[in-house]
Symmetry: C2
């Protein structure tokens, strides 16, 4: 993969080449801290060791007993689902993958009524084993299996921490179990069993995903790696930081490949939860090229100068020829391909942002395959860690979500919490349509 | 539906009750202009007359000859797809709906290889009949049908303007044709054949969608409608404007229903293309409750004070009981329902934003059905028109996207365009991973 930051220089917001050179000294120091954190296996930094630590055979062996299922359901939320969902959306498989990563009864009903439960594998993912949404969904799925006379213990495995409900459940019912890695926040766990179990069941090459991650990790270990001009992940992390400092409060991530749409969601969690604190943090906006040229581009080119657009594409893809046509004014399309049209739109969008003085960064991966995905995800994680270090935020925590969890628990009768009282005191000014 | 703006008062950013009262005088004047625009059927304002102007039977009669297909493919992009996609995602049907709203060859291949072409209806949607992406996709689909020995003229209809390629094609091959309404930008065309043809094929109640729109339109005609305290659409339009003025550059739209996820995409186009100009415009961020509590909420609560969160839910939904459990610490979940859990999370998230002094607006619709969707979409369009008027932007144009269209066309050999030259002059600063 490579990162081209040429279109983020001297735009508005934008950073000068001199500014980047000065920032590069801080990148070097941050790189030192990152390498130290990796060596010590410190909380969070441990994520950047996953490609080396994670054994692909362990993941494959654990799911092997399930044979050749028709579907796999991942029951998990946030980081317990998004890595797996990213691989699943990007790579084709004969095994359908579904995600119960919400507690929407309509959605759960629809899914459960259409699933071939006796040929479905269920992976329940929660580090603590107490995530309310995940456990509620698990109870619902297990109940559906029991009603359908499917032995749930034959079709279920867990991915969890060393203790807690799911670990005990696995012991009691002899379920296969995979380990959520220690010291790794969920959003950084894609290159571990958390993200890879579903991929293994779908028949994807888990080893190649990890090799891609290792290749990106090796970049950090090279001589000279501590420069944003040498290491793609740092180029991206440093430029996003420099632009955020200069007013780019929004980072619109726009892959030009439908199969990478879920990658943008994974990225949105990584970026928002890691960097969104202490009054700082870029808002990730998920977009999709070329579709969103007809939706968001007007705003990106002519709206407030508060955005960076991150353009992402594979340089190689399976293509499809556009048939010749005598339709008026469209003969130029005939004989070229959908891929050429998509690439022309990619470059046109990038240039149209530049022409309006708006910054963009171009990220290119070789193709949408296991190796490139592993490399891309690792590089984005390293970019995020660098950005967080430069911004002096505590990248690996997410304290602001606890308030709502306590409130919801209190509302459902799970204990006395003052937060639940606050819900009842809500300010209202209702304008009614009836 | 109703709109509760109580949690946008006196937050940061936020607006005071006094500020809203003063703004309300401008809302009244804007309402006068909107009503005048509607009466005269002016460009753009004409969108707000669609529920009255659009004849549901014409849509139904046009698609009736296709009988009972297994699938419908809408070939269109931006506003030519998002309205139809919103209804399709929200409402269940035995007829599968697909959208070719991109020019991704991998996606198109995958779709075409899995579709039962002889039982598929294709709707080609382009007002001008020259949209490159749409026409390229149409050529590819037609070719696939011909290769599969399916008579494409039996399976295809068009939704287009009074002249152009698609209109001529329809005449030549005797294809059914629906009219794209005059004077209505694509993003405002959901309540016309553009959005409704797909819904009709899927068996949804098109008349009820329009009735919902009419109900919201009637609100604008009532005595006293020109006050944000009386009309839900204006409450939303005025508060989003007031908050944007005060620094809420991001509007995170977060439905608590998986089936409304595509609504958030439709909204994102409406908002970005209509209001994103002249250096103004809120960036729509698409989110999904409860899932994104585990992804975006950390940023919303603790990041920069540049956001409004729009929370949306149906007050009634098909529910699903959570089975009783003896799992440690989770017994409180047993006996309640997924819907109760989801509602508790909705209220907890809203209160957690309030506790952090962050603004949110609550929109409630009765349920996810045809009528409520028509009402919701119409109200959001009216809110957008009001917001645009208050901000003094030209809501109904999107000039900034033309540059890229010319560049792409030039790159593909469709003529000489200086924009294509600019693409070739791109600045580069490539950091390579190899």
């Amino acid at each position: 993969m490579n990162v081209d930051i040429g279109n983020a220089l001297d735009t508005s917001p934008g950073v000068s080449r001199d500014g980047l050179e000065r920032l590069d000294r801080r990148v070097e120091r941050a790189h030192g801290r990152i390498q130290e954190g990796r060596e010590r296996g410190e909380h969070g930094f441990a994520a950047l060791n996953l490609p080396e630590r994670c054994d692909p055979r362990e993941v494959e062996d654990t799911v092997a007993p399930f044979g050749d299922p028709r579907a796999v359901v991942t029951v998990g939320i946030g980081g317990s689902a998004l890595g797996a969902a990213t691989f699943s959306a990007a790579l084709e498989s004969d095994v359908d993958a579904y995600f119960l990563d919400n507690v929407d009864p309509a959605h759960a009903r629809r899914l459960l009524s259409s699933l071939p439960l006796e040929e479905t594998v269920v992976n329940v993912v929660s580090k603590s084993g107490t995530t309310a949404e995940t456990l509620a969904n698990f109870l619902v799925v297990r109940d559906a299996m029991q009603r359908a006379s499917v032995d749930w213990t034959d079709r279920t495995f867990v991915t969890t921490g060393p203790s807690g409900n799911l670990r005990e459940l696995a012991a009691k019912h002899d379920l296969p179990a995979l380990d959520v890695p220690e010291g790794v926040p969920g959003r950084f766990a894609a290159l571990s069993p958390v993200g890879l179990a579903c991929a293994a069941i779908q028949g994807h090459d888990v080893e190649a995903i990890l090799e891609g991650g290792s290749a990106a990790a090796d970049r950090l270990d090279r001589a000279g790696a501590g420069s944003l001009f040498e290491t793609p992940a740092y180029a991206y992390g440093a430029v996003t930081y420099a632009l955020a400092q200069r007013g780019a409060g929004v980072n619109a991530v726009m892959p030009y490949a439908e199969s990478l749409e879920t990658f943008a969601e994974w990225f949105a969690q990584l970026w928002a939860e890691s960097l969104g604190k202490d009054g700082l943090g870029q808002t990730p906006a998920r977009a999709l090229g070329a579709t969103d040229q007809h939706s968001q581009l007007q705003l990106y080119r002519a709206g407030p100068r508060d955005k960076l657009v991150t353009l992402l594409r594979p340089t190689e893809r399976p293509d499809l020829e556009i048939p010749e046509t005598d339709l008026e004014g469209l003969s130029y399309l005939g004989g070229s391909t959908l891929g050429e049209l998509l690439d022309a739109e990619f470059e046109a969008t990038e240039a149209s942002l530049a022409a309006a003085g708006r910054p963009s960064v171009r990220i290119e991966i070789d193709r949408v395959d296991e190796r490139s995905l592993g490399e891309l995800l690792y590089a984005m994680e390293a970019a995020c860690v660098l950005h967080g270090d430069l911004a002096s935020v505590d990248t690996f925590v997410q304290p602001a979500v606890e308030w709502g969890k306590r409130a919801a628990r209190g509302l459902l009768g799970g204990g006395e919490f003052p937060e639940a009282e606050a819900v009842r005191d809500k300010e209202t000014l209702i304008v009614d349509g009836n």
